[in-house]
Structures are given as structure tokens and as C-alpha cells.
């Protein structure tokens, strides 16, 4: 009996995210992109790297999104692009959120000298313009998509560190944290059990917003030749190509739309997650 009610409660809880129309749209878009990425070889009408003598064909029945300067089919390249842009930006956000959260949590919880030291380090990273630092690191490590990921992680973690530190500083003043240590909880337990629930919501929301940023940074590095290497199709570098050929609107527009829809979808999901994870709004969503 208790098992049954527990199960029902659980499904009710996870239902709350499905009650938000925007979340459903977001999840739908990501699911579509994921399917496109997985089944790209079967879905894409052409080989994304096939070239021929003609170039810059406008959208037509044969090439729905037109072709680029090497007459590669843009639709096929956009579909294959999802195989690079989506997994790498998710990976980037996961890495930088983890790294930043750990640094922020230690800093906020430990306080004192440890806090000052870690925050000064964070400040140093903040002081650099993100793309410049990423370029420097990527160039030093060598142009390769894996190195671009490392470079962007190094640029992106301080935001999380600051956010998490602030949340921890705020949360640790609560009486329930004191009560927990009075009960004999260790610091690690207090951090994980009492403080972590205060973090996941904001960190998730920030991460969802940062997916877009990560995607753009990755594209930026690719454009500069430090990320995805040609001829790999990558949305950001395709947009850059579009910017060079402004009179051929289709070259930049379609990969741009791909970035737009992906970023928007992640934002919707982030918002919905926040509402679902806060027990106060979650209840309102359930009822």
C-alpha cells in the first residue's frame, strides 16, 4: 500500500514539469534535435561534406536550405551540426557547473582565508575577457575540439563559483544548518544534505542559460580555427560563414535558427526545472 502511494506521489512530482506548456515545447525541440543528431546519416538528404563546382545555390526543392560556397547542402550540414554543437555544449556546461560549484561550495562553506583565496582566483578569471582567455588556452593546447572544451570550461566555471558561494553564504546562516551540526552532522553531510538542495535550482537555471553561451563560445572558437576543424559542420562556424556572405541570407540564417531553437529550448527547460524543483511552486503545479 505504501509502495503504491509512494509511486503515485513520485509520478505526480515528475508530472509537474509536463504541466508547463513552454517546458513541453522545449523538451520537444531538444528531442527533435537529439533524434536528428542520432539519425543524421539517414535523415540528411546529402553528404554534408560533398562539394562540387557550383556554389551558393538559393533554397530550392533540391536544396531546401540552399548551399554554401563549396556547394555543400546546408540542410544536411545543419543536421550533422547537431552532432557537434549539442553534446559538446552540454558537456561544457556540465563540466564548468561541476567545477564551479565545488569551488564555490568550498569557498562559501569554509569562509575565512580559504574563501578569500578562492575568490581572488575567481576574480582573476573574471578579469579576463572570456573569449580571449579561451583563445589563449585553446591556442596553447592546440586546435582541437577537445582542447576547445577544456578552454571554455576554464572560462565558464567562475560564474557558478560565485553563484554557489553566494547561495551557500546565505543558506548557512539558517538555523536549520546550525541545528544540523548540533545534531552531529559532519561538514560534508551538512553541505550535501542541507545546503545542496538550495543550490540545484539556481545552478540548473544558470546552466540552462549558459548552454547558449557555451554553444556560442564553442562556435566562436571554431570560427577562429581553434575549435571544430573543417570540414566538420558546426553551427557557429556556419553562421560566421553567413556573416561573410551577407547577401546570401540562407547561408547564415538556417544554422542561426538552429542555434536559436536549441538555446531557447534549453532556457524553457531550465525555467520549468526551477519551478518543478522548488517545493512551493511544485505544489501549485501539481494541484
Amino acid at each position: 500500500m505504501t509502495m503504491v502511494t509512494k509511486k503515485m506521489k513520485k509520478s505526480k512530482n515528475s508530472n509537474s514539469i509536463w504541466r508547463q506548456p513552454l517546458a513541453v515545447v522545449g523538451i520537444g525541440i531538444i528531442v527533435i534535435w537529439t533524434l536528428l543528431a542520432i539519425f543524421a546519416p539517414w535523415i540528411a538528404p546529402y553528404n554534408p561534406n560533398a562539394q562540387d563546382a557550383a556554389k551558393f545555390l538559393a533554397p530550392s526543392a533540391a536544396h531546401w536550405m540552399g548551399t554554401d560556397e563549396l556547394n555543400r547542402d546546408i540542410l544536411s550540414r545543419v543536421i550533422f551540426g547537431a552532432r557537434i554543437s549539442l553534446p559538446y555544449s552540454l558537456l561544457l556546461v556540465a563540466l564548468s557547473a561541476t567545477l564551479g560549484s565545488i569551488v564555490g561550495a568550498i569557498s562559501g562553506y569554509a569562509g575565512g582565508k580559504i574563501d578569500s583565496f578562492l575568490m581572488r582566483v575567481t576574480d582573476v578569471f573574471f578579469a579576463f575577457p572570456g573569449i580571449v582567455l579561451a583563445m589563449a588556452v585553446a591556442a596553447a593546447l592546440g586546435p582541437q575540439i577537445r582542447n576547445a572544451v577544456i578552454a571554455i570550461t576554464i572560462v565558464a566555471w567562475p560564474v557558478y563559483a560565485r553563484l554557489v558561494r553566494g547561495l551557500i553564504l546565505n543558506a548557512k546562516q539558517n538555523d536549520y544548518v546550525t541545528a544540523s551540526s548540533l545534531l552531529g552532522s559532519s561538514s560534508l553531510r551538512t553541505l550535501i544534505v542541507d545546503l545542496r538542495p538550495n543550490l540545484s535550482g539556481p545552478v540548473f537555471v544558470l546552466a540552462a542559460l549558459e548552454v547558449g553561451n557555451a554553444l556560442l563560445l564553442l562556435s566562436g572558437l571554431s570560427f577562429l580555427g581553434l575549435g571544430a576543424q573543417p570540414p566538420a559542420s558546426e553551427w557557429g562556424s556556419m553562421v560566421s560563414l553567413g556573416a561573410e556572405n551577407f547577401d546570401r541570407w540562407w547561408v547564415g540564417l538556417f544554422p542561426g535558427l538552429a542555434i536559436l531553437t536549441a538555446v531557447l529550448a534549453f532556457t524553457f527547460i531550465g525555467d520549468a526545472l526551477r519551478d518543478a524543483m522548488d517545493p512551493r511552486t511544485a505544489k501549485a503545479l501539481r494541484d
Binding site: 538555523d175 546550525t178 548540533l182 545534531l183 552531529g184 552532522s185 538550495n198
Partner: protein, 323 residues
């Protein structure tokens, strides 16, 4: 009666831009098992600070606090020694003292899990504890925001009970509650103290509740205890002028009695406390020596202790009348 808590000459200082403010300026008191010690005084006299120092949330600058044979040290980031788990606190604010993002059951079970129970046993015992504080067993699956202030305070009490406390410091546990919940929570505390034979320091500025539930009362003024005695002694025959003034501030149900004593002036700034007896600038009975010599604690023949030059060690209390 078994003594479980002994505070001797405890001093707690706050650092205010390099200046030391003595919020608690040398306090001695003892707490016995099965006893409620009321701690009363005006706002800002150091009641809560003393309470926090007793459980180890604040550091004592001097003096010692001995709980059940070992000295209380300030909580550090490391794990609190197991022994001190039996010294618990109930907080004033029922909204801040429970984690809004965790289920009630998990929060109560924490104390048991840390103590070595399995999660399943802990949740089961959490239900028993909830029942004990007058809440339904199924409350373990709910979140704090689904409860009223009084219910939350009972949940906090259940959480403290999970650590099997032998002493509890209750820091104004009923001040934030409405009148009907105040009575319920106060009665609950009395019953629990009896049932578990624990000692409780009950910090409050509500004198009528303190009178109802306490066995002994300590009166604090500007970081010091001025008088400790039984409820009967303090209420019917106060031997310190400040106690007298404080007691007279309680309205009487029948409307008779004297008007509250209006003490001249404000509570002095604890950064620069007055010389001699800390109460002398406002005391209607102050003598010249009061401004110079700080009165030591003296035990009177009826067993109470008081810090006032009007009283003599070992003799009958001189009755104080003012105004």
C-alpha cells in the same frame, strides 16, 4: 537531583570593529535534570547569547561551560563530538529552523541517522517522535511550508528529541507563535522535560509563561545574572530591585496590584557598562557603594542567589519595595 550543566563565569564577547562588546559578562548557573530554568530579562540583556554559548554556537571568551562532565567547545566545521549530541537547542524562529526543501521525516531522521540508526528505522522513529509532539505520523512526507508556526515549532522539538537530549536550551521557543499555540508548545515542553527527565533552559521575555512552567528563574540584566531563585521566591519576594521592577511589569488578571515600575533611563550600552553594580544608574535604591563595588553573588538563607549590596550572605532576604 543530578546536575547536568554548569556554567561558571562565562563571558561572551562580540567584536564590533575591533571593540569588544561583552554581551555576557560573567555568568554562573547550574541546571539539573528534570528541571526547567527560566531565563528572563529585557531585550538585549544577553539571554540568547548565553543560550547560544551554552550549546556551543558561540565561543566563550572566558569561563567554562561543563555539560555532563565535559567542557563544551565551540562548534567547528568538523563533526560535533558524539557526547554533546545530548545537548540540543530549540530555536526562536520556526520558519528559519527547518529546511524548506527537505521533507519533515528526513529532517527529524537526520539526528537518528547520524547517531547510527539505519534510514528505515530512523524514519519509523521519526514518526513516533512526531506523534509524541502531537502531529500525525504521515507528516514525515510533507514539507515545512505545509505547517503552521506552532506545528513547525513542534517539528523542531521533535528533531531535537531525535538526538535523545539530556539538556535543551529553548531560545524563546514560543515568542513567534500566536497565543493558542504558545500554550500548547509550552505544555508540550513541560511534559517532555518530565518524560525524558532532561534539563531545560527556557529563555523568554514572557514572564507569565516562565512563571507557569519554570522550576527556577534566573533574571539577567546587561550581561549578568542578578538573581536566581525558585519561581515562588522571585515572584513573591524579589530580593533585587531589578527583579522587583521586572515582576511589577506583569499585568494582573484582576486589575489590582501596583502600576509597573518605571525605571529611570535606558539600558546602558554594553560597550561601556556602568562602574560598580551594573544596575545602579537606574536603581531607585542605589547607595554610594553601588557605584564603586560590583556586588558579588551571595546565597541567602532561603537558598536563592542574588547580586545586590542590600542583601547579606546567609541571612533572610531583605524585602525590596520601590516606588
Amino acid at each position: 537531583m543530578k546536575e547536568i550543566l554548569n556554567v561558571s563565569n562565562a563571558v561572551v564577547e562580540y567584536d564590533r570593529q575591533g571593540l569588544k562588546v561583552r554581551a555576557v559578562a560573567g555568568v554562573d548557573l547550574t541546571l539539573n535534570a528534570g528541571e526547567i530554568l527560566g531565563l528572563v530579562g529585557e531585550s538585549g540583556c544577553g539571554k540568547s547569547t548565553l543560550g547560544k554559548a551554552i550549546v556551543g554556537i558561540l565561543k566563550t571568551a572566558h569561563g567554562e561551560i561543563v555539560f555532563d562532565g565535559s567542557q563544551v567547545k565551540k562548534l567547528t566545521r568538523g563533526q560535533r563530538p558524539k557526547h554533546f549530541r545530548n545537548l540540543q537547542m530549540v530555536f526562536q524562529d520556526p520558519y528559519g529552523s527547518l529546511n524548506p526543501r527537505r521533507k519533515i521525516g528526513a529532517q527529524i531522521a537526520d539526528g537518528l541517522v547520524v547517531g547510527g540508526s539505519s534510514r528505515k528505522d530512523a524514519l519509523h522513529e521519526a514518526q513516533d517522535l512526531l506523534e509524541k509532539v502531537g502531529l500525525p505520523r504521515n507528516a514525515i512526507d510533507r514539507f515545512p511550508h505545509e505547517f503552521s508556526g506552532g506545528q513547525r515549532q513542534r517539528i523542531s522539538i521533535a528533531r531535537a528529541l531525535a538526538a535523545a537530549p539530556t539538556a535543551i536550551v529553548a531560545d524563546e521557543p514560543i515568542s513567534a507563535l500566536d497565543t493558542s499555540s504558545q500554550a500548547q508548545v509550552a505544555n508540550l515542553l513541560v511534559n517532555l522535560v518530565e518524560e525524558y527527565d532532561m534539563g531545560m533552559v527556557f529563555i523568554s521575555h514572557d514572564l507569565s509563561i516562565v512563571r507557569r512552567i519554570s522550576d527556577r528563574v534566573a533574571v539577567m540584566y546587561l550581561g549578568k545574572i542578578v538573581e536566581i531563585g525558585t519561581v515562588d521566591q522571585i515572584w513573591n519576594n524579589p530580593s533585587h530591585p531589578y527583579t522587583r521592577a521586572l515582576i511589577s511589569a506583569i499585568p494582573h488578571a484582576d486589575g489590582t496590584g501596583f502600576m509597573p515600575q518605571d525605571l529611570p533611563g535606558d539600558v546602558p550600552n554594553p560597550m561601556s557598562p556602568p562602574s560598580g553594580c551594573r544596575f545602579h544608574p537606574r536603581c531607585p535604591l542605589a547607595m554610594p557603594e553601588c557605584a564603586e563595588i560590583e556586588p558579588a553573588f551571595r546565597t541567602l538563607s532561603d537558598g536563592r542567589s542574588v547580586a545586590c549590596h542590600l542583601q547579606t550572605e546567609g541571612s533572610e532576604p531583605v524585602s525590596i519595595s520601590i516606588g
